[in-house]
Symmetry: C2
Subunit: 505 residues, 2 copies
Amino acid sequence: MMEDAVSSEDAMAAAIAEASLGHACRRIVPVILAGGSGTRLWPMSREQFPKQLIDVVGRDSLLQATVTRMEGFVGGFDVDTQPIIVCGEEHRFQTEEQVRACGVCAKIIVEPARRDTAPALTLAALAAVNQDDDAIMVVMPSDHSISDIPALHRAIAIAAEYAEHSMIVTLGVAPTRPDTGFGYIRIGDALENGAHLIDRFVEKPTTELAAQYVAAGTYWWNSGIFIVRAGVWLEALAKLNGDMHAACTAAFAEGKADDNFIRPCPFQFGRVPADSIDYAVMEHIGAAGSPCKGVVVPLAAGWSDLGSWDAVWEAMEKDGLGNVASGRVVFEGATSSYVRAEGGRLVACVGTSNVVVVDTDDAVLVADRSHAQDIKTLVARFREQRAPEAETHRKVRRPWGFYDAIERGERFQVKRIVVAPGARLSLQMHHHRAEHWVVVRGTALVTRGEDQFLLSENQSTFIPLGVQHRLENPGKVQLEIIEVQSGSYLGEDDIVRLDDCYGRI
Amino acid sequence: MMEDAVSSEDAMAAAIAEASLGHACRRIVPVILAGGSGTRLWPMSREQFPKQLIDVVGRDSLLQATVTRMEGFVGGFDVDTQPIIVCGEEHRFQTEEQVRACGVCAKIIVEPARRDTAPALTLAALAAVNQDDDAIMVVMPSDHSISDIPALHRAIAIAAEYAEHSMIVTLGVAPTRPDTGFGYIRIGDALENGAHLIDRFVEKPTTELAAQYVAAGTYWWNSGIFIVRAGVWLEALAKLNGDMHAACTAAFAEGKADDNFIRPCPFQFGRVPADSIDYAVMEHIGAAGSPCKGVVVPLAAGWSDLGSWDAVWEAMEKDGLGNVASGRVVFEGATSSYVRAEGGRLVACVGTSNVVVVDTDDAVLVADRSHAQDIKTLVARFREQRAPEAETHRKVRRPWGFYDAIERGERFQVKRIVVAPGARLSLQMHHHRAEHWVVVRGTALVTRGEDQFLLSENQSTFIPLGVQHRLENPGKVQLEIIEVQSGSYLGEDDIVRLDDCYGRI
């Protein structure tokens, strides 16, 4: 696909000559777009627990793998140890907790509403510009997998050189099949180091068109990884989409920073038009009057967008029969199957081929791999029916830990509640239920009405209906209690929060 | 398949002439063989909860459907309202409970050990002979389904006429496919009413042979339903298998009858050779020197042995796409699939064809329907590995009700315990665990050490390690408690039973 060296060098020289907007910079800031709510990996991913928070391919979550992906980068640039992460309001605590668990200190921008990727990137650019006008942003989706990190770093090092010269660079993946789930990039003139000018962006094609693209050899998949100087992005956006630029700028300027989060102004952000990076900017660059050039650098690093369970199966290491298993799984004559047992149950596959089985505490998916994309339709149906299984897991994360609703009867419910060391639930009260608490691990500090007392393993207490109470873990190990609720109404919304250290009142 | 009338009548006359052993009798006693431990319907069926105790095709269990199957019989015979049921020691309480729930009072013979069907039938014959030498036994496996009861009754009425004349009669099913899972009966001379003399029994054939049998039109499936006078059976067995006859007779004579059960002597029964009805008797009748004649009567009544999940799918009513579902099941583009959601979870099938999905509290099966027979191999593997999922369900039935181990942690376990009105657990003690009990429904009478007290809904108590205790339901509604166990060892075998009204000490 490389053109001859002379024309390639000519094109590069021309491109750099045209790109005269900025000055040189040797600092890279990783930007992670973690606002997704992908449900194509249902039932693992849920509205409240999206794909990036799940350990899809390894021990870490996809977000955690992304946060640490630039570690060890040696491309002649300094990589900022504090990445910028953009996430949604409802995922902020889990995002923060997962990032902290990696030992990384991040700037977390909390989007007050969903506006697609272009506004998210713009908020990150505004934060980056705040400290350093010319930081090179390496913008990464938070929910993809890349197996060959050195290869990724090599591609980014090449891309950063172009970005430094004020181009907007994207990493492109040579297609291996006529996938209709990706956008494609038609490559233009060859530049140095395998890079090309971007001829044009093409939306997700039909199967026929996709096959033509693959055959042509001049179309690459859009990986969604962008390398661009913050100032260059903002300038390009200002020219191409003035409204978005203005509204994002106002939202950022009028925003607040609390403990760990940067919070743009909800009112101003509400006025931001929703759009993707591709639509808002990338499809226009290179055209007549475009503010800057686009470059695509090839990425051959085992990239996958993990956009369906089929893609997950593709990305995983398989046994001799093509099977992939995690959890308590038994195969008997099964082939090319992906099985994930998350609920602690035993999952047995007998004689199956090309199936996906995902077992969770409250929902089980059995899908033919070739129909894995239809899970989108399924989840849309669940949402219409307001099925709780579209929204949350049985195990619900909270800033203080989690609870798991392990059993439910007519007038009672049993929860397992796990509280992190030093964490405390809100001071609260219920109108319709009484609660028994049995400590099964650690030590609890209990507030009940006017009293405060400690309970250790194997001790219990009773919280009558209507009495203010609070549960705290004053210790150094996890606190676990079994809570037996009883009453006529047991919904999560029967809670009056009187005080909360996580600002949830 | 009917031969011409003249030869048919001749054969009948000859058969009746030969069968001159007994005198006439107009009483039928249903005999139900419920000693099976079939695991081909795993994970619904388990070692401790076999197929006959499950509601496979309807609201009732297969055993219950069998127990009530002779209701409304109008064939000129009196049907004894007290059937004889033969079951295994480990299933006696559940068998009794299910039969009682049908409003039927049965004689339950508890086999001290498994010896296959011929000894089971012999015990039933000994019990039948005890009251009436010439009762006609209608012997039915407890785990088959029959949809057209009037057609069954017509076949039995015909069969009973031959049985009355001292023949051993079996019901045969015209084969619809070359199934290798059944024994076949080669039919001989035609008799009246569609019946035939039995030419010979053929063991489960190869696929090739089975195809030849189906094409020949002279082989019927052996339904396992036998109609024979008790005295005729015993006499035939005495001649063909004297050891079995003698050992069964001794075991029955030296047995005991307690509350609801007839219990043959374990020592004598231990000496009984294991054998099936077919091998022990049926394959020899008709041969030279045979003590009696065998007759087969055709059964066209929607019979299925439900011998695999595939057979269950075949037997069930399907939607327009061939799907069968029970529980919370959602199909998206699925066809010809059988899905059973028993664990309360949502089960979603996307794009699947010809799969079986059975979801239970602790195990999930996903099988290709054409490989449903391989579940046998799978369960054998589980047994080798001593996987608890081969043995019991998470919900464990007890004579007083059941418990469900809903959650387990490192040093704790949570159980939901349901006690039937008037029932009581044993007086017991644990060496390694303390227990918290929270009543969530009904009223509990608690014995704790020297104390005895009542607990009602929303009250709780604590049973320290080493203290004698007993739980009783003195009320008229079910008692439900949540038990939180804590301790270093939580196995079921840490129990010292001091007193038990079910004889389990």
